[in-house]
């Protein structure tokens, strides 16, 4: 009964989405207030219905209802309760339902936090989101119904993929999807502005917090996925340039460009055509990512069971949504003005440089991801593009980007002077060189790439310090305290500084791991030791342990540093009988300056094991950097300006509405 209720709620939602997609849009066109007024209640009803369907599916999982095909394929009665709940999005159908839930949640959020927007704008935005929801609902109902029944009812389910039985998987997909789908808001704002012809600084100001919010989730989602790969796959890597990882990284790159471009559009009313295009492209890449993951055109560690009808459906949806929005762009954008002029050297130019580099980087990732597919499509054979390509392309693109990151925030809008910039940044440049040389001398043997990486991290920090110093220095003869001046810094600027600092931390972590990590695969009998520097690993053998739905061989490795015991690690080799899979569960001792990482390889003769012993310096800084970036986004998104403007514009629109037409 419960699954049927969920199924029915989805059909109702389809009807509501159809209303939400049409009447408010027509209403905005014909000036019909009653039609436009349907947008908000529809968005709320849509969220409630899809949320209800989602709960129904979750209830089937919790109650082990194996008469539901999707539950039988992704759960098992021995699966612990918390994983039964996360198994809801462990397969294709549930993931798409989660996608849909996020989409309706964002429309609900737009409906709730758009009181300050003109009625027509809100109606158009929600109508666009209504169409997206309609398309995805149709997809679920036509090809991926999670509520399909199974007869005869099996006594036991097939179990959730053991790789997904992990706390990281509990929050990674929802975070990532929040980010992916959150970009639909920027997309809807862009399409609505193109239709309404009100593409201006105001539009950029409305779009900014939404874009930043989506970007925060995307950043966290990608970081969680990377962390999950690090400790769950047992290879000690944190990024594999896997097609599915790339699918999430591409929208991130474009969303980052969009955030910077929106700043120019808001402040200077420039780049409008470019910004609106980025907003469309960012969400298009989210859809493309969904297509790549769900259609099975690419093979990847994330491979899901595939059905050709699904691929075809998403492709058709992709062509309609992206095709029509780009056609709309080609039609409307030429009439949008250019905005304020700016000099060759100005913050605008530097931000444009940043945008171009980010988009080129995204293009490079897209090329690397789709190249094997394109070759196969032209019958030129099956190949795969690996990390060497991406790393070769990325470092040269990242270096100028980081340089601009230091200069941009210090330069003036409209027109900047080179001598002025040079004299303000000379200390930062000097400090960067000195710090790099010092680090290279202290550590030794970091190579050119390592030195470049460290220099990039130091440059960002040094230019941030310069910026901060200039803002806190007494200026103009007004005597105020440092604390007072610190409070004067807008949150948007603070957020930017935090996020840029996060990039520095991230680059530092990546560089240290790349230049300093030690990976050893050694054969160890009981009592054998392996030394890496001052760290000694002693293998104490393995024993059998039983988990709730698996059996495991658990190894014991004692670690000492400089003769003092540090920790004992327990890497596992798990066997999940329901799916007949073995899983390597690494054991990690995290630390501020290094991670100790031990995982079990294969058993060797005489009770010995092949043991992988890794020391990863500063690897946690990679995710720490991502956290700082997300935190920066959060600080920037809560800038007073948006909250103050909310009140200001709502009063303004009331007065404008009251004036006789």
């Amino acid at each position: 009964m419960i699954p049927e209720l969920g199924h029915f709620a989805l059909w109702l939602a389809l009807g509501i989405a159809a209303v939400m997609g049409t009447l408010p849009m027509l209403g905005a066109h014909r000036n019909r207030g009653d039609w436009m007024a349907l947008a908000r209640p529809s968005a709320r009803a849509l969220f409630a219905l899809v949320g209800f369907a989602f709960l129904c599916l979750a209830a089937s999982f919790v109650g082990n209802d194996f008469s539901v095909l999707y539950v039988a394929s992704n759960s098992n009665s021995t699966l612990p309760l918390h994983y039964r709940i996360t198994a809801v999005w462990g397969g294709h159908e549930g993931s798409i339902l989660l996608w849909l839930l996020m989409l309706t949640f964002w429309s609900f959020a737009v409906a709730s936090f758009s009181k300050h927007l003109p009625e027509k704008v809100t109606a158009r935005i929600l109508a666009v989101m209504g169409w997206l929801a309609f398309g995805f609902l149709l997809f679920v109902l036509a090809t991926s119904n999670p509520f399909d029944r199974l007869f005869p009812v099996p006594s036991e389910g097939r179990d959730l993929n053991p790789l997904l039985q992990d706390p990281g998987m509990v929050i990674h997909p929802p975070m990532l999807y929040m980010g992916y789908v959150g970009l639909s808001v920027a997309f809807a704002f862009a399409v609505a502005a193109l239709i309404g012809g009100n593409l201006d600084a105001q539009w950029a100001r409305w779009t900014r917090p939404w874009t930043t919010a989506a970007w925060i989730f995307l950043t966290l989602g990608i970081a969680l996925g990377s962390g999950w790969a690090y400790y769950e796959l047992g290879w000690g890597g944190w990024w594999f340039w896997d097609p599915v990882e790339n699918a999430s990284f591409m929208p991130w790159l474009v969303a980052t460009a969009l955030i910077h471009s929106l700043a120019v559009t808001e402040k200077r009313n420039s780049f409008k055509n470019w910004t609106v295009l980025l907003a469309i492209v960012a969400f298009s890449l989210s859809l493309l990512g969904t297509f790549l993951v769900r259609s099975g055109v690419l093979s990847s560690v994330h491979a899901f069971a595939t059905d050709p009808r699904r691929g075809l459906f998403i492709l058709a949806f992709l062509v309609i949504v992206i095709g029509s929005s780009l056609a709309l762009y080609a039609w409307r954008a030429p009439s949008v003005g250019l905005g304020a002029r700016f000099a060759l050297l100005s913050r605008e130019t530097l931000l444009l440089g940043n945008n171009v580099l980010l988009v080129v980087a995204c293009g490079a990732v897209l090329l690397g991801t789709l190249y094997p597919l394109a070759l196969d499509a032209m019958n030129l054979g099956k190949i795969s593009v690996g990390p060497p390509y991406f790393e070769t392309v990325f470092v040269p693109l990242l270096t100028p980007l980081v340089f601009l990151m230091g200069v941009g925030p210090l330069s003036r809008w409209k027109h900047a002077e080179l001598p002025d910039l040079a004299s303000r940044l000379k200390w930062a440049a000097g400090a960067t060189v000195a710090a790099t040389l010092l680090a290279a001398w202290l550590k030794g043997g970091i190579g050119i790439v390592g030195a470049v990486g460290l220099a990039m991290a130091f440059w960002i920090v040094a230019s941030l310090v310069t910026d901060l110093f200039e803002r806190l220095r007494p200026a103009g003869g007004v005597r105020t305290g440092v604390l007072h001046r610190a409070r004067q810094i807008p949150r948007a600027v603070l957020g930017m500084m935090l996020a840029h600092f996060g990039i520095a931390v991230f680059i530092f972590g990546v560089t240290m791991v790349r230049t300093g990590e030690v990976e050893r695969d050694v054969r160890m009998a009981i009592g054998d030791t392996t030394e890496i520097g001052e760290t000694v690993f002693t293998f104490r053998g393995v024993r059998e342990v039983a988990g709730p739905n698996y059996r495991a061989l658990r190894g014991r490795v004692e670690v000492t540093e400089n003769g003092k015991p540090v920790t004992t690690l327990y890497p596992e080799k798990r066997i999940y009988p329901a799916t007949q899979t073995t899983l390597t569960e690494a054991s990690i001792e995290p630390g501020f300056t290094r991670d100790l990482y031990v995982s079990l390889g294969e058993p060797a003769n005489g009770g010995a094991w092949i043991v992988r012993v890794y020391v990863k310096p500063f690897i946690d800084w990679i995710w720490g950097g991502c956290l700082l970036m997300a935190l920066g986004g959060l600080v920037a998104a809560t800038d007073r300006r948006y909250r103050a403007k909310v009140r200001a514009t709502s009063t303004a629109s009331i007065t404008a509405g009251a004036s006789p037409a």
Binding site: S295, L318, I322, G323, D376, Q580
Partner: protein, 176 residues
Amino acid sequence: MKRLWFLIPLFAFFALAVVLAVGLKRDPREVPSPLIDKPAPKFALPRLDDAAKTIRLDDLRGKVWLLNVWASWCVACREEHPVLLEFAKKRVVPIYGLDYKDERADAQAWLARFGNPYDASLVDADGRVGIDFGVYGVPETFVIDGNGVIRMKHIGPLTPEVLRDKIEPLLKRLDA
């Protein structure tokens, strides 16, 4: 003229969509099995119903036969089972089971409960023979000809369509 610039994103996207559409028809996981048209790996395994008797690859020479890899723990095998039983009734071809990484008692109970479509099942308790055959998912089905050469491999549960459109035509050709 200026308008044309704004059409570039649209055209670029359509080019991409064409690549995706063609790519959709391909299966990236369709890695051609290196064993097709190669002699089947040699084996000598005990029968499930009688551990004292051994069946070797060479015992099966001279006739076309199916090797169906199954196990009592395999949920998909349960899905496949009615199809296989129905097919076995037709007596088109002898079907041998490879009971992969299974407990003998469980496997016997499973066949007793769901029916036995096999002429005989071989017990591959440690999965060695399965590895030789390149088994990476259960169920899998191999068509092996009279000279002991693997002619076809199907991964996943057999369906009436696969039997009708792929396996039966192949068997007719092999018999001819």
